[in-house]
């Protein structure tokens, strides 16, 4: 059912709002329709994939079949804390500072 919906290109404003939420994006209500139109056009183009015969074809996630390479089990230096904190939006001492998000009693 959902596959047909996707193929039918019936992307709704509610779906765009839901996807924005999943993607942790704040989309102004006035921009939802613009995104809906643009995304729907791309999805309609992507529907060309339906015409390709993929019966019995294994998915290929990566250009080359590769196996994991393991490092020797030896400690290596990480980055110094100061180098990390230099890019922090806010820091206190040796810690990243974040806004308080829990109310009293939470």
């Amino acid at each position: 059912m959902k596959e047909q919906e996707a193929r039918g290109n019936a992307l709704s404003a509610a779906q765009v709002a839901h996807v924005a939420k999943l993607a942790r994006l704040e989309v102004a209500p006035g921009r939802i329709e613009e995104y809906r139109t643009q995304l729907a056009a791309v999805l309609a183009h992507i529907a060309k994939l339906d015409a390709v015969d993929i019966a019995g074809t294994e998915p290929m996630a990566h250009p080359f079949e590769s196996s994991n390479r393991l490092d020797d089990d030896e400690p290596v230096e990480g980055l110094p804390i100061e180098a990390i904190l230099r890019n922090a939006p806010a820091a206190e001492g040796r810690f990243l500072a974040v806004p308080k998000v829990l109310a009293e009693g939470d």
């Binding site: 193929r7 939420k21 993607a23 791309v42 998915p59 290929m60 080359f64 980055l79």
Partner: protein
């Protein structure tokens, strides 16, 4: 020396015929003068670059042995990490980001003696084909500043074309090195996936991304790849192969070369002068004794569809790390607003519209219930595309075709996102299959009284860069006169 290629400059520095410091200063001066027009650089490193160049001159005078890139100024796309300056990805999200480390490719170029001259602008997070989607303003094409340089490695292409560096590096996820190289009249090489370490390249589509050279000649591309390639323990997807040694063989023509021309590449949708350039290339190869064979790549047309599933899916996952907590832009919260709002507002303020569009596209296609219909199917088509290339390469050594369907277009000409995506129809499948491809200049079209470069693309199978660049060098030699007919309007 500003329009000599990197190899010639390197040789002149080594023999004392040119000063590295003077060459570097001339390029920095040109950048100061022309960057207000071209916007190729986000920043340049004058003091650092001149000091390094001076040290090379001292070594050369003292007769000390010099590394292969000693003293040549190289520009770095701003999504490749450098300790020097910033690494912004041309995004507000990383506007103040300073990398604590150099990318592997940068580290290797530096140890080969290259001087990092500056960081170049790009379409934000490497998403775009025009150089228009840059938080620091659009990049302009040195051949006609009313037109785009292509993208996403827009600033690197413009800087090389205008003589603001000896060579540059870019990244190519679906054509981002080759398409701007084509539109700016330079050489752009997308190496085989796994040739060059991605460590320190800001991740976009991890199974597609490659770092590669953007240069004024084929031999420069060979030399640059020799200095950057090879196994890197910090990127488990680098191929377990030694660094390439292409510069030693690039002048040697390929005997019995078989050039395949996919019938799908010479399309009526292309600009007629683009098709004519491909035809001229075929004629030149034939005159050099190569065999021209017709190839068949029926899945060419579904490349864009496949790419716009895989790349946004990988991007939505890779860009999830930008949450406003540890680094990058953080939005201000009003009292009572929650953690979700902190994430969402930081991301929406930090990312531009094209990046948000692709994140949403990828998120949608990976969301519950849609995965099989989009992502899994695209990965199945991906294997079919790779198999199709394998069949084609059984009959020929390289594939010849256009790099882009048209020469440089005007600002705003592809404002519709899908129209912009279709510019990459001839380049995305190289990344999807993980093979290598190079764009090189093939003459000019004249529009509005301005000469605009046309590029042709050669592709070869995985790890066949030696044959690829030797074949490219043959064509470069044959096209020397054709390409010498015009020079960029804005140039050092």
């Amino acid at each position: 020396m500003q329009h000599a290629d990197l190899t010639a400059l390197r040789d002149a520095i080594a023999t004392g015929a040119a000063s590295a410091e003077a060459a570097c200063a001339a390029m920095l001066d040109a950048a100061d003068r022309l960057n207000p027009v071209l916007n190729a650089y986000h920043e340049t490193f004058r003091d650092h670059a001149l000091a390094e160049a001076r040290a090379v001159d001292a070594d050369a005078r003292a007769g000390r042995p010099l590394p292969p890139l000693a003293g040549v100024p190289v520009a770095v796309k701003d999504n490749i990490a450098t300790v020097l300056g910033h690494t912004t990805c041309s995004s507000r999200m990383l506007g103040n980001y300073r990398s604590p480390f150099d990318a592997s490719a940068v580290e290797r170029l530096r140890s080969a003696g290259a001087v990092t001259i500056g960081k170049t602008n790009l379409d934000e997070f490497a998403m775009g084909s025009s150089g228009e989607h840059c938080h620091w303003g659009p990049v302009r094409n040195p051949w006609d500043t009313a037109r785009v340089p292509g993208g996403s490695s827009a600033g690197s292409a413009a800087a090389v074309a205008a003589g603001l560096c000896a060579a540059a590096i870019g990244s190519d996820t679906g054509g981002s090195i080759r398409q701007p190289a084509s539109l700016c009249g330079i050489v752009g090489l997308k190496p085989t996936y796994g040739r060059v370490s991605r460590w320190g390249l800001v991740a976009f589509g991890s199974s597609l991304d490659q770092v590669g050279p953007m240069t004024r000649s084929v031999r420069d591309a060979a030399l640059m790849l020799d200095c950057m390639s090879g196994l890197d323990a910090r990127d488990s997807t680098t191929a377990d192969r030694p660094a390439t040694a292409l510069a030693a063989t690039v002048e040697r023509p390929v005997e019995g070369l078989r050039v395949g021309i996919p019938r799908q590449y010479v399309s009526g949708a292309n600009d007629p002068e683009v098709n004519a350039a491909v035809q001229a290339a075929a004629d030149a190869y034939r005159a050099m004794g190569a065999t021209i064979v017709e190839a068949d790549l029926p899945l060419t047309d579904v490349g864009i569809s496949t790419y716009y599933v895989i790349a946004p899916a990988e991007a939505s996952s890779n860009l999830a790390r930008y949450d406003g907590i540890r680094y990058g832009h953080r939005a201000q919260l009003r009292p009572g607003e929650d953690l979700f709002t902190l994430y969402a507002r930081s991301r929406s303020e930090g990312f531009g519209p094209e990046v948000q569009r692709r994140i949403m596209l990828g998120t949608y296609m990976l969301s519950s219930g849609y995965y099989d219909a989009f992502y899994k199917r695209a990965l199945q088509v991906r294997r079919r595309i790779k198999e199709e290339f394998d069949r084609a390469f059984a009959e020929c050594d390289v594939l010849l075709g256009p790099t882009a369907p048209t020469p440089a277009f005007g600002f705003g000409a592809n404002a519709d996102p899908l129209a912009m995506y279709l510019c990459d129809v001839y380049t995305v499948n190289t990344n999807i299959a993980g093979i290598c491809g190079v764009s090189l200049p093939a003459g000019h079209a004249v529009r509005d009284g301005k000469h605009l470069p046309i590029g042709v693309q050669l592709q070869a199978n995985a790890f066949e860069e030696d044959r690829l660049l030797r074949a490219a060098r043959m064509l470069e030699r044959a096209f020397a006169e054709r390409n010498a007919k015009a020079r960029p309007a804005v140039s050092a």
